[in-house]
Symmetry: C2
Subunit: 521 residues, 2 copies
């Protein structure tokens, strides 16, 4: 399968003819260059991809939800059929193990089918009907009906850390396509081969299910030249992004400076505070808790946006927890990271944090990391030092965390300084959590998801999930990038006033031919 990779962008239904080399996929473990070379899409090709998306918008957005659903299901089927190629390529490009890649692929196809079901069922449009009251005084009431409609073509930027679930056919793409928006994906240099395999599945699904050309394109070519021209293109209506704060804020700036500013949904960085109350650390369960926490900290070599990077602990006590955690970290094997620059950045960030005033190393893996590897690390600081130093809130993207210890009031003061987060977690007995409403409120106001006696890694894809959070966790804290609510990122409400039934979309017709939920007021 790998031999059939061409290294060319998908411009609608055709392939790029560029021969200018952008990058090679690299073996994350060895650094070896993988074939083929990936070519940078030309300016003309970028323009054509976005223009095709623009022309696809009207026909695609007016398709019945069932037809869009069939397209999404065909993508999922195609990805499943490509699983052998994916598990051959992805572990090499990303360093992620076979089991993780299989799990992430299943999550990706599950997401596609979840959004397919949402589109097929159709009630997500929130159809609202206010009937006319011609005799109302002092003025007659017109007939008004409204529903959510797609925004227009969406640009999706792939991250390094989810080669499947947030990339070419990941959550952003699935929710935008379900909403009725064509998608232009910008691939990530960390896994171009996986991108091509998945891109091929999407294009084949689009052909097979009769979608208009331009409903999907996949561009190789990276940041400045390709990435920024897409966000600046007048025909793009919204952006989905997962990655660094620098990358996300660059897109936010570009989007705000356009003649017509557009929404950017950038999921950027989060240290995911975990608060351990004394009750959680008592007795036999402390060692088990340390094992659970260590598992969450080191999952995927810590390369999750929900990695628990910041831990609040009581000033005293918790020895059993700390002893077990220290032992686990010291015995831990370093892991291969997604790419060489992430491994460097992790080492740098951990080193920089360790140098800050009052910070000490609680535990470090005894085995030194090899090439492109990251090793678990636990740092420690007092709550007072933490609250006084914003640099201690920086994300170490990898298997490291900072323990902050202090009396309850100094922990509360430290939490009051926290930036927005994707998640916040509290461990404790029900009684002690209930007795600290101020702490619960302070965490709730700073996060999109509040977790009790659990761990932040593992983001369930369902109707009630929120994977979002106040800035800078995301650029737009009013949204989630996971779960069915994610579809509303790419929509706007449109009202029809006194429209003849024959002109109304089926969702708003009195006869309700789609059988969706209509709310009549």
């Amino acid at each position: 399968m790998t031999t059939s990779l061409q290294g060319k962008s998908f411009i609608g239904f055709s392939r790029s003819t560029s021969t200018s080399t952008w990058c090679h996929g690299l073996d994350a473990t060895t650094g070896e260059s993988l074939e083929p070379a990936y070519n940078r899409a030309t300016d003309d090709e970028v323009e054509r991809a976005v223009k095709l998306a623009e022309s696809a918008f009207a026909p695609y957005s007016d398709l019945p939800g069932k037809t869009r659903g069939a397209f999404l299901r065909a993508i999922a089927d195609g990805i499943e059929a490509a699983l052998p190629a994916i598990v051959e390529r992805a572990p090499r490009e990303t360093g992620l193990p076979d089991a993780r890649i299989r799990g992430e692929t299943a999550r990706t196809t599950g997401q596609l089918r979840l959004f397919a079901a949402l589109a097929e069922e159709g009630s997500w449009v929130d159809a609202r009907i206010d009937r006319a009251q011609p005799d109302r005084q002092p003025l007659p009431k017109p007939d008004l009906r409204c529903m959510y409609r797609p925004l227009g073509p969406v640009a999706v930027y792939c991250p390094s850390n989810f080669p499947l679930a947030f990339s070419v056919a990941g959550g952003d793409t699935a929710s935008a396509l379900a909403a009725g928006c064509p998608v232009v994906v910008i691939g990530h240099h960390s896994h171009p081969g996986v991108a091509e395999i998945v891109g091929d599945a999407v294009v084949e699904a689009a052909r097979k299910t009769g979608m208009p050309e331009g409903v999907f394109s996949l561009l190789f070519g990276g940041g400045r030249q390709v990435g920024l021209s897409v966000v600046r293109h007048p025909a793009i209506h919204a952006v989905g992004f997962t990655g660094s704060r620098a990358g996300g804020t660059a897109l936010m700036e570009a989007a705000a400076q356009r003649q017509r500013p557009i929404p950017v949904y950038a999921e950027m960085s989060s240290v995911n505070p975990v608060v351990f109350l004394p009750g959680a650390l008592e007795g036999d369960k402390a060692a088990t808790l340390a094992e659970g926490f260590f598992g969450s900290l080191t999952l995927g070599v810590g390369q999750f946006c929900t990695n628990p990077g910041l831990v609040f602990l009581p000033e005293t006590g918790g020895e059993a927890f700390l002893d077990r955690l220290r032992a686990l970290v010291e015995d831990a094997a370093p892991g291969v990271m997604l790419n060489a620059s992430i491994a460097c950045a992790y080492a740098d960030a951990a080193e920089a944090l360790a140098q800050q005033t009052g910070v000490q190393v609680l535990a470090r893996a005894q085995k030194s990391p090899g090439k492109n590897q990251g090793a678990p690390l636990v740092l420690e600081v007092s709550a007072a030092d933490f609250a006084a130093n914003p640099a201690l809130q920086g994300e170490m993207f990898g298997p490291a965390c900072l323990l902050v210890r202090g009396a309850p009031e100094s922990i509360e003061a430290a939490i009051a300084t926290l930036e927005g987060q994707l998640t916040a977690t509290i461990h404790g007995t029900e009684e002690e959590i209930a007795s600290q409403p101020r702490l619960v409120t302070a965490l709730k106001e700073r996060t999109g998801r509040l977790i009790f006696n659990g761990f932040p890694t593992g983001v369930e894809v369902c109707a009630s999930i929120v994977h979002g959070g106040p800035y800078p966790a995301t650029s737009d804290g009013r949204s989630t990038s996971v779960g069915t609510l994610a579809i509303y990122r790419f929509c706007r409400p449109v009202a029809w006033q006194n429209a003849p039934q024959s002109i109304l979309p089926p969702e708003l017709q009195d006869a309700n031919p789609l059988g969706i939920k209509q709310s009549v007021h």
Copy 2:
């Protein structure tokens, strides 16, 4: 009543002590200065108002919806009790007639009670519940629940043209307070007296219903000094604004440049295209249609964001319509505008448009406008000239419109150049509208509300209204500023994972003590 006006900002429950004069209310007709002088809030007072809002957020946002509803109803009652003072002051400050002021006051209290009912009923939070599946393979599913929660303190900027319905206790304030957000209002110099009367009613209602201090403040002091410090304040979480494009984009820029960018909901400008198809202009009904159109064009001296400023007509025909329109415009009396600068800006904009290539005057009021007055005006241009000149899309804020005439395909080409609009209207028979799906689609993609055989002025406040639209009609086309959907502008979803029942908000508890709609997945 007027004699009790103090000219001082409301800083929470206390009054400003500033003695620095910012402005006087002016009699719109005569230009006469009205008592008292309005004083500019000091920097310290601005800071205190926002800090009070910040400290009010936690207690206010956690109040039961019924309690917030009672607050909103008390505001409505207070405004009704102040009606004699309002109808004494508002017509002088705005030039708007008594009947309009009474109508707008009724709309304002109606809106407050609509949002009160929404908060009291409580289902708007979209409570979602995914129950745990501990035995699920390969991984257990956690218990997840989510609902919409308020963002934080909101800044509301009053416009000149709605002294009540979009000002101190207008739609932005009502929806933000219903959501659970404290509000800091920045008054408009065009009607400071009305602002003070309404502000007093809000503060009295807050006291009477036991709201935390800071749930509402009203600042006098205008643009740069007071207005910009509020949008830049770290404790402000969102902005509601209605006004000019210059004002709206200044707020957008300030919001984007903050350390933590915040959403801005600015309703800015719209020319509200109206398309007349040939069938609408045939026979006896043409004259009646012209009368209806003239009524919409001149309502409130054309000072509505939904004023029909742009009209598309077939290249030939429609004489009966045009003759009647011409006669009505020529006979029309000029009207007093909201303030002297709006009257000047209207005259300037109309003059500038009339000077553009190919533009001719079709009809002009014979009576010249007096001091601070605006007179109806109808200009005409070909579709080809229109499509070639973006300057012809400029808003003339007043009772003027531009008729664009051309063959169907040139009208379609002209419409393809249009910017985002609050409304778009089509007049024609059902058959001819149905036969032009491309035209309907082109209008739909450029607007928040699509009207059939009606007029854009008159915005019904209900569940199915959309008063929004793609940029630059609004800064954020994903929202509406009128109707119950407006509440979501000031909210974000928050999820609870594996939370004990005792810690969940009542909206998400299994026992559902509020009896709201919960969707269980």
